[in-house]
Subunit: 255 residues, 2 copies
């Protein structure tokens, strides 16, 4: 039995029995003090490079509406990106789209292993335990990860507003994409997809457990305020609830 | 017994027995659809005029750390400002610092009464009930309200970072201000104070119940990200815990 809150993660609604378990790997930009801010300017530590703005607030709304247990990372992706395996260079990136990360340059094996032990291992173990505990309720459920992306990338605007991402198991993504989303630019595997290495959590926790699974990527200018988060949560629930029902998940929880 | 969640408010950690009850009147910029956005541009509906950015996230951290029940408003202050009495013009402002609010111009008595009934009355009743329920635990507690303010006002920068506001009962404010806050600009009744009409909740729920009470105003550029919110929460707890203890509140909860 893992704790509900540690330095590396926080579990919300741990005893929820709804039709999903929700992950929010990039919830926080917190950099523990002993990393000296990774040598970054404050503006970089507060930017989307360090976390997914709006994702946790959105995920909490989905967690509450679906009575779904949720786990949120509590350490910046720049220390360790919990949606990446330890061997991926992007797990501890030396640079991102726009910034260099001095504190990540030339990390030796011991330093990398220490970050895995401090961030990735506890987050991953707690996620596995949460899924096992939810599994013991003996009603089927899906795995949903919640992320946000920037309106511009390399100075180019992105038209996509909601990305529905999947790896080899497209059951839940297909069922969501079968719904109408009037006035909303919803796309499959956009603004990036499995070839970009972003489906680690889906593979590790979803596909490995044969759970229907999907990664939701929301353009962060659409989830910057509580009212926007309410609205996008309602829109996503409009796609998710019929999709979960189609997969015979959660009809009893469709409150 | 009131519900824990309605259109007007949400109660978090309803059964907490820590040494405080926390209010966050301006948590959301949500404007129900039938108000047609009050005729505002989206940029105005998302701005600090409509809510206190960062305040709810900060208040939730204090609620968790203190095991304090908390109530958050779920409707924009531009519809009804729950920290104002119904008779105050600023309860449904026709304009703010920088924006005119077309949907609030020339409201007749029926329209004003309808907003009181829909927003202020349920928020206030739920707060009273929450305080009564917490009071039944028979251990003393304080009332804390959490707000945020903008770094600039009428184009002038504000140096104050944390405002400790009070009305006629200064017990908790005095005890907080007696602590050191190195490197942090903490001021009494700044950037505004009781003469500006901002102590309605303190008077209505704090002073009327003889609860030690304080209003915390945080400059919103300091609580824009989770890491910043963690830091300011820790700093505030460094002031609050000794202050609560000095008032013989919550020593058993000083975890």
């Amino acid at each position: 039995m893992t704790a509900n809150r540690t330095e590396a993660y926080e579990i919300i609604n741990a005893d929820g029995t709804g039709p999903a378990v929700i992950l929010c790997e990039h919830a926080s930009n917190h950099i523990p003090a002993d990393y000296d801010g990774l040598g970054l300017e404050p503006s970089a530590r507060d930017s989307h490079a360090a976390w997914d703005p709006g994702a946790e607030d959105l995920a909490r709304r989905l967690s509450e509406a679906l009575d779904a247990p949720m786990i949120a990372g509590r350490i910046s992706r720049l220390i360790y990106d919990c949606n990446r395996p330890p061997e991926a260079p992007s797990a501890m990136p030396e640079r991102t789209e726009t910034i260099a990360v001095p504190g990540n340059v030339g990390l030796d094996e011991a330093a990398r292993a220490a970050r895995v032990a401090r961030v990735y291992a506890p987050f991953t173990r707690a996620t596995s335990d949460l899924i096992a505990r939810r599994g013991s309720a003996d009603t089927p459920f899906a795995l949903i990860t919640v992320h946000s992306f920037t309106p511009r990338w390399m100075e180019q605007p992105r038209a996509v507003e909601i990305g529905i991402l999947h790896d080899t198991d497209a059951r839940l993504a297909d069922a969501m994409l079968a719904q109408e989303a009037p006035g909303r630019q919803v796309e499959r595997n956009a603004p990036y997809g499995p070839a970009d290495g972003v489906t680690h959590s889906l593979c590790l926790h979803g596909i490995a457990n044969n759970l229907p699974n999907v990664m939701l990527e929301i353009r962060n200018d659409l989830i910057a305020t509580p009212a926007q988060q309410d609205r996008i949560a309602a829109e996503l629930l409009g796609l998710l609830r019929p999709a979960l029902a189609r997969l015979k998940l959660g009809e009893a929880h469709d409150a």
